[in-house]
Protein backbone atom coordinates (compact mmCIF):
# COMPACT_ATOMS: atom_id res chain seq x y z
CA UNK A 1 0.00 0.00 0.00
CA UNK A 2 1.31 3.45 -0.81
CA UNK A 3 1.67 6.24 1.73
CA UNK A 4 -0.93 8.42 -0.02
CA UNK A 5 -3.59 5.70 0.21
CA UNK A 6 -2.84 5.33 3.91
CA UNK A 7 -3.21 9.07 4.40
CA UNK A 8 -6.52 8.99 2.53
CA UNK A 9 -7.76 6.22 4.80
CA UNK A 10 -6.63 8.20 7.85
CA UNK A 11 -8.49 11.30 6.71
CA UNK A 12 -11.58 9.27 5.96
CA UNK A 13 -11.62 7.62 9.37
CA UNK A 14 -10.92 10.94 11.09
CA UNK A 15 -13.88 12.55 9.42
CA UNK A 16 -16.04 9.71 10.68
CA UNK A 17 -14.66 10.19 14.17
CA UNK A 18 -16.12 13.14 15.93
CA UNK A 19 -13.05 14.38 17.82
CA UNK A 20 -9.91 16.18 16.73
CA UNK A 21 -7.05 16.66 19.16
CA UNK A 22 -4.62 19.55 18.95
CA UNK A 23 -1.35 18.46 20.51
CA UNK A 24 1.14 20.40 22.56
CA UNK A 25 3.94 22.38 20.97
CA UNK A 26 7.16 21.66 22.89
CA UNK A 27 9.50 23.77 20.77
CA UNK A 28 9.99 26.25 23.61
CA UNK A 29 10.34 23.70 26.37
CA UNK A 30 7.80 22.51 28.86
CA UNK A 31 5.69 25.67 28.90
CA UNK A 32 2.07 25.04 28.03
CA UNK A 33 1.62 25.86 24.36
CA UNK A 34 -0.51 24.25 21.68
CA UNK A 35 0.26 23.73 18.02
CA UNK A 36 -1.34 26.31 15.77
CA UNK A 37 -1.14 24.10 12.69
CA UNK A 38 -4.64 23.87 11.22
CA UNK A 39 -5.81 20.24 11.14
CA UNK A 40 -7.20 19.10 7.81
CA UNK A 41 -10.14 17.39 9.52
CA UNK A 42 -11.56 20.80 10.45
CA UNK A 43 -11.11 22.18 6.94
CA UNK A 44 -14.76 22.12 6.06
CA UNK A 45 -16.05 23.14 9.46
CA UNK A 46 -14.23 26.28 10.56
CA UNK A 47 -12.13 29.03 9.02
CA UNK A 48 -8.41 28.72 9.52
CA UNK A 49 -8.02 32.26 10.90
CA UNK A 50 -10.66 31.75 13.59
CA UNK A 51 -9.04 28.52 14.68
CA UNK A 52 -5.59 30.08 14.81
CA UNK A 53 -6.90 33.07 16.76
CA UNK A 54 -8.44 30.80 19.37
CA UNK A 55 -5.32 28.68 19.82
CA UNK A 56 -3.01 31.72 19.85
CA UNK A 57 -5.17 33.42 22.50
CA UNK A 58 -5.10 30.26 24.60
CA UNK A 59 -1.32 30.11 24.23
CA UNK A 60 -1.06 33.72 25.36
CA UNK A 61 -3.16 33.02 28.42
CA UNK A 62 -0.98 30.07 29.39
CA UNK A 63 2.17 32.11 28.80
CA UNK A 64 0.76 34.76 31.14
CA UNK A 65 0.02 32.14 33.78
CA UNK A 66 3.48 30.61 33.58
CA UNK A 67 5.44 33.83 33.28
CA UNK A 68 8.38 33.95 35.65
CA UNK A 69 8.88 37.52 36.77
CA UNK A 70 8.36 39.92 39.63
CA UNK A 71 4.82 38.77 40.36
CA UNK A 72 5.68 35.08 40.55
CA UNK A 73 8.72 35.77 42.76
CA UNK A 74 6.62 37.83 45.12
CA UNK A 75 3.93 35.18 45.26
CA UNK A 76 6.53 32.45 45.81
CA UNK A 77 8.37 34.30 48.59
CA UNK A 78 5.20 35.33 50.39
CA UNK A 79 3.86 31.81 50.19
CA UNK A 80 7.15 30.35 51.45
CA UNK A 81 7.21 32.66 54.46
CA UNK A 82 3.72 31.54 55.42
CA UNK A 83 4.62 27.86 54.82
CA UNK A 84 2.23 27.97 51.83
CA UNK A 85 -0.75 28.29 54.15
CA UNK A 86 -1.62 31.53 52.42
CA UNK A 87 -3.03 29.49 49.55
CA UNK A 88 -5.88 28.44 51.82
CA UNK A 89 -7.29 31.93 51.47
CA UNK A 90 -5.59 33.30 48.38
CA UNK A 91 -5.94 32.17 44.81
CA UNK A 92 -2.74 31.56 42.87
CA UNK A 93 -2.09 33.50 39.70
CA UNK A 94 -2.32 30.33 37.66
CA UNK A 95 -5.78 29.60 39.02
CA UNK A 96 -6.94 33.12 38.16
CA UNK A 97 -5.73 32.69 34.60
CA UNK A 98 -7.34 29.24 34.37
CA UNK A 99 -10.67 30.82 35.25
CA UNK A 100 -10.13 33.41 32.52
CA UNK A 101 -9.36 30.60 30.08
CA UNK A 102 -12.49 28.74 31.10
CA UNK A 103 -14.62 31.83 30.51
CA UNK A 104 -12.90 32.47 27.19
CA UNK A 105 -13.53 28.95 25.96
CA UNK A 106 -17.16 29.17 27.00
CA UNK A 107 -17.51 32.45 25.14
CA UNK A 108 -15.79 31.05 22.04
CA UNK A 109 -18.03 28.01 22.10
CA UNK A 110 -21.15 30.14 22.32
CA UNK A 111 -20.19 32.70 19.71
CA UNK A 112 -18.08 30.90 17.15
CA UNK A 113 -17.97 27.13 17.49
CA UNK A 114 -21.46 26.11 18.47
CA UNK A 115 -23.02 27.84 15.43
CA UNK A 116 -20.66 25.72 13.32
CA UNK A 117 -21.55 22.53 15.15
CA UNK A 118 -18.26 22.26 17.03
CA UNK A 119 -17.27 22.34 20.67
CA UNK A 120 -13.90 22.97 22.30
CA UNK A 121 -12.96 21.18 25.50
CA UNK A 122 -10.89 23.04 28.07
CA UNK A 123 -7.36 21.53 28.03
CA UNK A 124 -7.40 21.11 31.80
CA UNK A 125 -10.02 18.41 31.35
CA UNK A 126 -7.44 16.42 29.36
CA UNK A 127 -4.44 16.95 31.63
CA UNK A 128 -3.33 20.02 29.61
CA UNK A 129 -2.17 17.65 26.90
CA UNK A 130 -4.60 18.46 24.11
CA UNK A 131 -7.27 20.90 23.03
CA UNK A 132 -10.05 18.77 21.69
CA UNK A 133 -12.57 19.86 19.11
CA UNK A 134 -15.59 17.70 18.73
CA UNK A 135 -18.78 17.74 16.80
CA UNK A 136 -21.84 18.65 18.78
CA UNK A 137 -24.76 16.36 19.29
CA UNK A 138 -27.85 17.23 21.36
CA UNK A 139 -26.35 15.16 24.18
CA UNK A 140 -23.01 17.00 24.22
CA UNK A 141 -24.73 20.33 24.80
CA UNK A 142 -26.00 19.13 28.14
CA UNK A 143 -22.75 17.30 28.97
CA UNK A 144 -20.39 20.24 28.46
CA UNK A 145 -17.60 20.16 30.98
CA UNK A 146 -17.71 22.49 33.92
CA UNK A 147 -14.03 23.44 34.01
CA UNK A 148 -14.78 26.70 35.82
CA UNK A 149 -16.47 24.82 38.65
CA UNK A 150 -13.59 22.37 38.76
CA UNK A 151 -11.05 25.18 39.31
CA UNK A 152 -13.14 26.52 42.20
CA UNK A 153 -13.06 23.16 44.02
CA UNK A 154 -10.46 22.33 46.68
CA UNK A 155 -7.13 23.14 45.04
CA UNK A 156 -4.92 23.64 48.07
CA UNK A 157 -3.02 20.36 47.74
Amino acid sequence: MTTSLFQLLLLHSASLANKVFIQRDYSEGTVCKFQTKFPSELDSRIEKTLFEDTVKTLNNYYAEAEKIGGHSYLEGCLACITAYLIFLCMETRYEKVLKKISRYIQEQNEKIYAPRGLLITDPIERGMRVVSFHTMSPMTISNTSDSYGRIKRWTFL
Binding site: M1, T3, F6, Q7, L9, L10, S13, A14, A17, K19, V20, F21, R24, D25, Y26, S27, E28, G29, T30, Q35, K37, A65, E66, K67, I68, S72, Y73, E75, G76, C77, A79, C80, A83, Y84, L85, F87, T92, R93, Y94, E95, L98, I124, E125, R126, G127, M128, R129, V130, S132, N143, R150, I151, R153, W154, T155, F156, L157
Partner: protein
Amino acid sequence: MSAVMLPRKVTRKWEKLPGKNTFCCDGRVMMARQKGVFYLTLFLIIGTCALFFAFECPYLAVHLSAAIPVFAVVLFLFVMAMLLRTSFSDPGVLPRALPEEANFIEMEIEAANGNIQAGQRPPPRIRNVQINNQIVKLKYCYTCKIFRPPRASHCSICDNCVDRFDHHCPWVGNCVGKRNYRYFYLFTLSLSLLTIYIFTFDIVHVALRSVDSGFLNALKETPGTVIEVLVCFFTLWSVVGLTGFHTYLISLNQTTNEDIKGSWSGKNRVQNPYSHKNIMKNCCEVLCGPTYPSVLDRRGVMAEDSLSSTPSPPTSDVVATKSNPVTPNTKTTAPLIPNEHTPDEAKPSIAAAAQKTTKEEKVSSPRDSGPKVSPAPIVVKESAH
Protein backbone atom coordinates in the same frame (compact mmCIF):
# COMPACT_ATOMS: atom_id res chain seq x y z
CA MET B 1 -48.17 7.00 52.41
CA SER B 2 -44.77 8.44 53.06
CA ALA B 3 -41.89 8.00 50.65
CA VAL B 4 -38.57 7.27 52.33
CA MET B 5 -35.88 9.48 50.84
CA LEU B 6 -32.48 7.81 51.12
CA PRO B 7 -29.51 10.17 51.01
CA ARG B 8 -27.77 9.78 47.65
CA LYS B 9 -24.11 8.87 48.00
CA VAL B 10 -22.08 11.03 45.68
CA THR B 11 -19.25 9.23 43.91
CA ARG B 12 -16.25 11.42 43.39
CA LYS B 13 -13.74 10.91 40.61
CA TRP B 14 -10.89 9.92 42.92
CA GLU B 15 -12.72 6.69 43.74
CA LYS B 16 -12.47 5.60 40.11
CA LEU B 17 -9.01 6.85 39.29
CA PRO B 18 -6.62 4.23 37.95
CA GLY B 19 -3.19 4.03 39.51
CA LYS B 20 -1.98 2.83 42.88
CA ASN B 21 -2.53 5.93 44.99
CA THR B 22 -4.43 6.15 48.23
CA PHE B 23 -6.74 9.07 48.80
CA CYS B 24 -7.89 10.56 52.08
CA CYS B 25 -10.29 13.28 53.18
CA ASP B 26 -12.63 12.59 50.27
CA GLY B 27 -9.96 13.05 47.63
CA ARG B 28 -8.21 16.08 49.08
CA VAL B 29 -5.12 14.13 50.14
CA MET B 30 -3.18 11.94 47.72
CA MET B 31 -0.38 9.58 48.67
CA ALA B 32 1.36 6.43 47.53
CA ARG B 33 0.12 3.08 48.71
CA GLN B 34 3.08 2.19 50.95
CA LYS B 35 3.17 4.65 53.82
CA GLY B 36 5.25 2.75 56.37
CA VAL B 37 8.46 4.70 55.82
CA PHE B 38 6.50 7.97 55.88
CA TYR B 39 5.21 7.10 59.36
CA LEU B 40 8.80 6.39 60.38
CA THR B 41 9.85 9.84 59.11
CA LEU B 42 7.05 11.44 61.13
CA PHE B 43 7.98 9.45 64.21
CA LEU B 44 11.66 10.38 63.97
CA ILE B 45 11.01 14.09 63.48
CA ILE B 46 8.27 14.43 66.08
CA GLY B 47 10.03 12.14 68.55
CA THR B 48 13.38 13.90 68.32
CA CYS B 49 11.80 17.34 68.57
CA ALA B 50 9.69 16.24 71.53
CA LEU B 51 12.83 15.08 73.32
CA PHE B 52 14.51 18.39 72.45
CA PHE B 53 11.63 20.40 73.88
CA ALA B 54 11.53 18.22 76.98
CA PHE B 55 15.23 18.02 77.82
CA GLU B 56 17.12 20.85 76.14
CA CYS B 57 14.71 23.72 75.96
CA PRO B 58 13.95 24.26 79.66
CA TYR B 59 17.67 24.32 80.52
CA LEU B 60 18.79 26.43 77.56
CA ALA B 61 15.91 28.89 77.83
CA VAL B 62 17.01 29.66 81.37
CA HIS B 63 20.77 29.47 80.99
CA LEU B 64 21.20 30.92 77.49
CA SER B 65 18.24 32.50 75.75
CA ALA B 66 14.49 32.10 75.43
CA ALA B 67 14.82 32.58 71.70
CA ILE B 68 16.29 29.10 71.33
CA PRO B 69 13.09 27.13 71.90
CA VAL B 70 11.04 29.75 70.02
CA PHE B 71 13.17 29.38 66.91
CA ALA B 72 13.10 25.60 67.30
CA VAL B 73 9.29 25.65 67.35
CA VAL B 74 9.12 27.81 64.23
CA LEU B 75 11.60 25.57 62.41
CA PHE B 76 9.79 22.42 63.53
CA LEU B 77 6.43 23.75 62.31
CA PHE B 78 7.95 24.73 58.97
CA VAL B 79 9.50 21.27 58.54
CA MET B 80 6.17 19.59 59.32
CA ALA B 81 4.28 21.89 56.96
CA MET B 82 6.69 21.16 54.11
CA LEU B 83 6.68 17.42 54.80
CA LEU B 84 2.89 17.23 54.86
CA ARG B 85 2.56 19.37 51.79
CA THR B 86 5.02 17.19 49.86
CA SER B 87 3.36 14.00 51.00
CA PHE B 88 -0.24 14.98 50.55
CA SER B 89 -0.23 16.89 47.29
CA ASP B 90 -0.59 15.69 43.75
CA PRO B 91 2.99 15.53 42.41
CA GLY B 92 1.83 16.37 38.87
CA VAL B 93 0.11 13.18 37.82
CA LEU B 94 -0.95 13.14 34.19
CA PRO B 95 -4.40 11.65 33.74
CA ARG B 96 -4.59 8.70 31.39
CA ALA B 97 -5.90 9.25 27.91
CA LEU B 98 -9.61 8.68 27.45
CA PRO B 99 -10.46 6.09 24.78
CA GLU B 100 -11.04 8.67 22.02
CA GLU B 101 -7.70 10.37 22.56
CA ALA B 102 -5.94 7.00 22.78
CA ASN B 103 -7.54 5.89 19.50
CA PHE B 104 -6.60 9.15 17.81
CA ILE B 105 -2.97 8.65 18.81
CA GLU B 106 -3.08 5.01 17.66
CA MET B 107 -4.38 6.10 14.26
CA GLU B 108 -1.56 8.63 13.94
CA ILE B 109 1.02 5.99 14.87
CA GLU B 110 -0.40 3.48 12.39
CA ALA B 111 -0.43 6.04 9.63
CA ALA B 112 3.19 6.92 10.32
CA ASN B 113 4.33 3.28 10.55
CA GLY B 114 2.79 2.32 7.23
CA ASN B 115 2.69 -1.37 6.28
CA ILE B 116 4.17 -3.81 8.76
CA GLN B 117 4.74 -7.36 7.55
CA ALA B 118 3.45 -10.30 9.56
CA GLY B 119 5.93 -11.64 12.10
CA GLN B 120 7.94 -8.42 12.34
CA ARG B 121 7.91 -6.27 15.45
CA PRO B 122 6.44 -2.79 15.13
CA PRO B 123 8.90 0.04 15.62
CA PRO B 124 9.17 1.56 19.13
CA ARG B 125 6.76 4.41 19.59
CA ILE B 126 8.88 7.51 19.80
CA ARG B 127 8.12 11.07 18.81
CA ASN B 128 10.91 13.57 18.09
CA VAL B 129 10.48 17.13 19.21
CA GLN B 130 12.89 20.01 18.92
CA ILE B 131 13.27 21.95 22.15
CA ASN B 132 15.59 24.96 22.09
CA ASN B 133 17.45 23.51 19.10
CA GLN B 134 17.95 20.11 20.70
CA ILE B 135 16.20 16.93 19.62
CA VAL B 136 14.34 15.32 22.50
CA LYS B 137 12.63 11.94 22.17
CA LEU B 138 9.17 11.55 23.66
CA LYS B 139 8.35 7.99 24.61
CA TYR B 140 4.91 6.42 24.42
CA CYS B 141 3.47 5.13 27.69
CA TYR B 142 1.56 1.90 27.10
CA THR B 143 -0.15 2.14 30.47
CA CYS B 144 -1.39 5.69 30.19
CA LYS B 145 -1.71 5.56 26.37
CA ILE B 146 -0.07 8.92 25.85
CA PHE B 147 3.17 10.24 24.51
CA ARG B 148 4.82 11.45 27.66
CA PRO B 149 5.54 15.18 27.69
CA PRO B 150 9.22 16.10 28.00
CA ARG B 151 10.61 15.37 31.48
CA ALA B 152 7.60 13.25 32.41
CA SER B 153 8.15 9.67 33.50
CA HIS B 154 6.02 6.75 34.59
CA CYS B 155 6.33 5.80 38.25
CA SER B 156 5.84 2.07 38.57
CA ILE B 157 5.18 2.29 42.31
CA CYS B 158 2.26 4.67 41.89
CA ASP B 159 1.46 3.48 38.34
CA ASN B 160 1.07 7.02 37.05
CA CYS B 161 2.88 9.25 34.60
CA VAL B 162 4.18 12.22 36.56
CA ASP B 163 5.14 15.52 34.98
CA ARG B 164 8.77 16.60 35.59
CA PHE B 165 9.26 13.34 37.46
CA ASP B 166 12.12 13.59 39.95
CA HIS B 167 11.91 10.37 41.95
CA HIS B 168 9.58 8.36 44.15
CA CYS B 169 10.50 9.10 47.75
CA PRO B 170 9.38 6.49 50.30
CA TRP B 171 10.36 8.84 53.15
CA VAL B 172 7.60 11.23 52.17
CA GLY B 173 5.35 8.47 50.87
CA ASN B 174 4.77 10.09 47.49
CA CYS B 175 6.33 10.84 44.14
CA VAL B 176 8.28 14.05 43.80
CA GLY B 177 7.32 15.84 40.60
CA LYS B 178 6.56 19.20 39.12
CA ARG B 179 3.97 20.29 41.66
CA ASN B 180 5.70 19.30 44.87
CA TYR B 181 9.41 19.50 44.08
CA ARG B 182 9.91 22.85 45.72
CA TYR B 183 8.15 21.66 48.90
CA PHE B 184 10.36 18.59 48.92
CA TYR B 185 13.48 20.74 48.55
CA LEU B 186 12.35 23.12 51.29
CA PHE B 187 11.59 20.09 53.47
CA THR B 188 15.12 18.69 53.07
CA LEU B 189 16.64 22.14 53.52
CA SER B 190 14.67 22.98 56.66
CA LEU B 191 15.18 19.48 58.05
CA SER B 192 18.94 19.90 57.55
CA LEU B 193 18.77 23.18 59.46
CA LEU B 194 16.65 21.62 62.20
CA THR B 195 18.99 18.65 62.53
CA ILE B 196 22.05 20.90 62.71
CA TYR B 197 20.24 23.15 65.19
CA ILE B 198 19.23 20.30 67.50
CA PHE B 199 22.64 18.65 67.22
CA THR B 200 24.45 21.90 68.04
CA PHE B 201 22.31 22.70 71.05
CA ASP B 202 22.55 19.12 72.30
CA ILE B 203 26.32 19.50 72.37
CA VAL B 204 26.04 22.93 74.02
CA HIS B 205 23.61 21.56 76.61
CA VAL B 206 25.82 18.62 77.50
CA ALA B 207 28.86 20.90 77.59
CA LEU B 208 27.17 23.35 79.96
CA ARG B 209 25.98 20.58 82.24
CA SER B 210 29.39 18.91 82.19
CA VAL B 211 30.96 22.11 83.50
CA ASP B 212 28.72 21.85 86.56
CA SER B 213 28.54 18.12 87.20
CA GLY B 214 30.92 16.26 84.92
CA PHE B 215 30.32 14.57 81.60
CA LEU B 216 28.93 11.20 82.71
CA ASN B 217 26.58 12.78 85.25
CA ALA B 218 25.36 15.21 82.62
CA LEU B 219 24.47 12.31 80.35
CA LYS B 220 22.67 10.55 83.19
CA GLU B 221 20.63 13.70 83.88
CA THR B 222 19.54 14.04 80.24
CA PRO B 223 19.16 10.59 78.68
CA GLY B 224 17.02 12.08 75.93
CA THR B 225 20.02 14.02 74.65
CA VAL B 226 21.87 10.79 73.88
CA ILE B 227 19.03 9.54 71.69
CA GLU B 228 18.77 12.92 69.98
CA VAL B 229 22.47 13.04 69.24
CA LEU B 230 22.38 9.55 67.75
CA VAL B 231 19.39 10.30 65.54
CA CYS B 232 20.77 13.67 64.46
CA PHE B 233 24.20 12.30 63.71
CA PHE B 234 22.91 9.71 61.26
CA THR B 235 20.24 12.01 59.83
CA LEU B 236 22.76 14.77 59.27
CA TRP B 237 24.85 12.87 56.76
CA SER B 238 21.89 11.71 54.69
CA VAL B 239 19.70 14.81 54.76
CA VAL B 240 22.46 17.37 54.37
CA GLY B 241 23.92 15.31 51.55
CA LEU B 242 20.53 15.09 49.88
CA THR B 243 19.98 18.83 50.21
CA GLY B 244 23.37 19.46 48.65
CA PHE B 245 22.57 17.08 45.80
CA HIS B 246 19.22 18.73 45.08
CA THR B 247 20.78 22.19 45.26
CA TYR B 248 23.20 21.03 42.58
CA LEU B 249 20.32 19.66 40.49
CA ILE B 250 18.31 22.87 40.84
CA SER B 251 21.24 25.02 39.79
CA LEU B 252 21.46 22.96 36.60
CA ASN B 253 17.68 22.61 36.17
CA GLN B 254 17.88 18.82 36.14
CA THR B 255 15.78 16.14 37.74
CA THR B 256 17.09 13.15 39.72
CA ASN B 257 15.64 10.91 37.02
CA GLU B 258 17.62 12.69 34.28
CA ASP B 259 20.76 12.67 36.41
CA ILE B 260 20.54 8.94 37.04
CA LYS B 261 19.79 8.11 33.41
CA GLY B 262 22.58 10.43 32.30
CA SER B 263 20.24 12.16 29.86
CA TRP B 264 22.31 15.32 29.53
CA SER B 265 25.79 14.07 30.35
CA GLY B 266 28.36 12.49 28.10
CA LYS B 267 29.97 13.65 24.90
CA ASN B 268 27.45 12.59 22.31
CA ARG B 269 24.41 13.35 24.37
CA VAL B 270 22.05 16.25 23.99
CA GLN B 271 22.79 19.23 26.22
CA ASN B 272 20.09 20.06 28.75
CA PRO B 273 17.61 22.13 26.73
CA TYR B 274 15.72 23.29 29.82
CA SER B 275 18.63 24.97 31.56
CA HIS B 276 18.86 28.75 31.30
CA LYS B 277 22.68 28.41 31.55
CA ASN B 278 22.48 30.72 34.57
CA ILE B 279 22.38 29.38 38.11
CA MET B 280 20.20 32.18 39.47
CA LYS B 281 17.65 31.82 36.68
CA ASN B 282 17.50 28.08 37.13
CA CYS B 283 17.00 28.41 40.87
CA CYS B 284 14.36 31.06 40.42
CA GLU B 285 12.45 28.97 37.91
CA VAL B 286 12.38 25.89 40.10
CA LEU B 287 11.79 27.55 43.46
CA CYS B 288 9.91 30.73 42.57
CA GLY B 289 8.12 29.61 39.45
CA PRO B 290 4.35 29.51 39.12
CA THR B 291 2.37 27.13 41.33
CA TYR B 292 0.99 24.66 38.85
CA PRO B 293 -2.59 23.44 39.22
CA SER B 294 -3.46 19.80 39.60
CA VAL B 295 -4.77 18.44 36.31
CA LEU B 296 -6.11 15.35 38.02
CA ASP B 297 -9.71 15.99 38.92
CA ARG B 298 -10.10 14.20 42.24
CA ARG B 299 -13.07 15.96 43.76
CA GLY B 300 -15.28 16.12 40.71
CA VAL B 301 -18.53 14.23 40.94
CA MET B 302 -18.91 11.23 38.66
CA ALA B 303 -21.86 11.47 36.31
CA GLU B 304 -24.49 8.78 36.90
CA ASP B 305 -24.31 7.33 33.40
CA SER B 306 -20.51 7.12 33.35
CA LEU B 307 -20.43 5.09 36.58
CA SER B 308 -21.63 1.93 34.85
CA SER B 309 -19.36 2.35 31.83
CA THR B 310 -16.19 3.54 33.62
CA PRO B 311 -15.04 0.24 35.19
CA SER B 312 -14.74 -1.64 31.87
CA PRO B 313 -12.17 0.42 29.93
CA PRO B 314 -9.58 0.87 32.70
CA THR B 315 -9.83 -2.71 33.99
CA SER B 316 -9.54 -4.19 30.52
CA ASP B 317 -6.50 -2.00 29.90
CA VAL B 318 -5.03 -2.97 33.25
CA VAL B 319 -5.65 -6.67 32.60
CA ALA B 320 -4.19 -6.39 29.14
CA THR B 321 -1.04 -4.66 30.29
CA LYS B 322 -0.57 -6.75 33.43
CA SER B 323 -0.81 -10.08 31.67
CA ASN B 324 1.75 -9.17 29.03
CA PRO B 325 5.31 -10.34 29.42
CA VAL B 326 7.86 -7.61 29.03
CA THR B 327 9.58 -8.36 25.76
CA PRO B 328 12.75 -6.39 25.27
CA ASN B 329 12.61 -4.51 22.03
CA THR B 330 14.37 -1.37 23.16
CA LYS B 331 17.41 -2.19 21.07
CA THR B 332 15.43 -2.33 17.79
CA THR B 333 16.35 0.54 15.53
CA ALA B 334 13.35 1.60 13.54
CA PRO B 335 12.08 4.61 11.65
CA LEU B 336 11.00 7.33 14.03
CA ILE B 337 7.65 9.04 13.70
CA PRO B 338 8.22 12.38 11.98
CA ASN B 339 6.01 15.31 12.87
CA GLU B 340 6.08 19.04 12.26
CA HIS B 341 8.88 19.45 14.77
CA THR B 342 11.20 16.92 13.22
CA PRO B 343 13.89 18.83 11.35
CA ASP B 344 14.00 17.95 7.66
CA GLU B 345 17.47 16.43 7.79
CA ALA B 346 16.39 14.03 10.54
CA LYS B 347 13.25 12.80 8.74
CA PRO B 348 13.96 9.29 7.48
CA SER B 349 12.08 8.08 4.48
CA ILE B 350 9.40 5.65 5.54
CA ALA B 351 10.77 2.25 4.63
CA ALA B 352 8.90 0.44 1.87
CA ALA B 353 9.36 -2.88 3.64
CA ALA B 354 7.71 -1.76 6.88
CA GLN B 355 6.21 -4.18 9.37
CA LYS B 356 2.55 -5.09 9.55
CA THR B 357 0.90 -4.52 12.89
CA THR B 358 -1.56 -7.16 13.94
CA LYS B 359 -4.15 -6.76 16.66
CA GLU B 360 -2.33 -9.32 18.81
CA GLU B 361 0.87 -7.32 18.43
CA LYS B 362 -0.90 -4.21 19.70
CA VAL B 363 -2.38 -5.95 22.71
CA SER B 364 0.85 -7.66 23.62
CA SER B 365 2.97 -4.53 23.12
CA PRO B 366 5.52 -4.50 25.88
CA ARG B 367 5.25 -2.07 28.71
CA ASP B 368 8.07 0.41 28.80
CA SER B 369 10.46 -1.18 31.25
CA GLY B 370 12.87 1.78 31.35
CA PRO B 371 11.27 4.00 33.95
CA LYS B 372 10.35 1.07 36.17
CA VAL B 373 14.01 0.36 36.74
CA SER B 374 14.89 3.90 37.78
CA PRO B 375 12.81 4.29 40.96
CA ALA B 376 14.38 1.20 42.51
CA PRO B 377 17.96 2.51 42.62
CA ILE B 378 16.64 5.84 43.83
CA VAL B 379 14.88 4.11 46.72
CA VAL B 380 18.11 2.30 47.54
CA LYS B 381 20.00 5.55 47.29
CA GLU B 382 17.65 7.31 49.68
CA SER B 383 17.86 4.65 52.33
CA ALA B 384 21.59 4.18 52.00
CA HIS B 385 22.26 7.72 53.17
